[in-house]
Amino acid sequence: MKKIDLETAVGFFLLIGIFSLAYISVKLGRLEVLGNKGYEVYAEFEQVGGIKPGASVEIAGIAIGRVTGMRLNDYQALLSLEIDKGIKLQEDSIASVRTKGLIGEKYILITPGGSEKIIADGGKIRETESAIDTESLMSKYIFGKI
């Protein structure tokens, strides 16, 4: 077998290594290399316990975007959501914080509305529904207030 020369060996190693790094970063780390950004909308919630930046935004179980930022605005949680380009949200869509399974992670579910008007880039989803707090639900049940 012909001996592999120095430059080939190093080049081969660098290519494999950089490929692995890029693959992991893009696939698992959601590093955005291409500027494939959607548009941004805002939504104000009373309670978003459990939502983290990067949580997915779904319609009917299909991921259509993710939470990009969250901050406190006038004692309400203001989330910025990045929505994929092709998806149009009606003005009366409802955004709600939901949980996958009993103890799964939190995500934002958007229920489409029937309005003709579409939310533009930088617009706001007005109808929101906060996280359901299982603990307070349970205590209500236990202490008989339901």
Partner: protein, 261 residues
Amino acid sequence: MTLIEMTVCVRGIGERFLSLLKELGHMFIFLVNAVYTIFRPPFKFKMLLRQIRFMGSKSIVVILLTGSFTGMVLALQIYYTLRKFGSEAMLGPAVALSIIRELGPVLSALMVTGRAGSALTAEIGIMRITEQIDALTSMALNPVRYLVTPNIVAALIAFPLLTSIFDLIGIYGGYFVGVKLLGLSSGTYFSQMELFVSMEDIRVGLYKSLSFGVIVSWVCCYKGYFTSYGAEGVGKATTSAVVTSSVLILIWDYFLGSVLI
């Protein structure tokens, strides 16, 4: 115990501590010297390529082997634990996070220490006892530039890349066991993983592997550079280089892990 015995004992402790401090200072000056020459031309580019081949290209096979089996055994063990709680779906994130954050950097650093670090110490040690280093010095050439700096730079390049190869192959090893052998659905494995692993975790793993690269190349070069004389001296230096780097890797991993959590 008489007073004299006590003073001797105290003196012994003081002596040990001072010699430890002296050794640490010596090591640190050695590192500073090497880092200083990184930014000073002439650059020994050919030496750098040769060291990348030595540390990187030739370690690929051993990294592939250890990576795939680590991922496989992790998936196997975690699966049986998770099954008790009925949360097999978390297998993907558990395997990926433990590999990316901890096992990838640490195990690949340990493997490279055993494979390349020991050889490095022996090589430099033999150059020292056959007076080749002295020959370089007497020709007014800085031996650190030829022997140490290329190794540190090569380690800084090779370690993160080897770690990412380890991560990738480990995750697919876990996939093989979890999905093909234990019957988890392939979608669950990867989609849960994508949800729970963030860029932050990958960055932590990279910082770790960079710092391990410095530790391994630094300790191994230092031990070889200041070896004691004779064949026995080189043997001792090699053993101590491997032991010291491995212990330092594990200790440093804990501290870095607790800072970067």
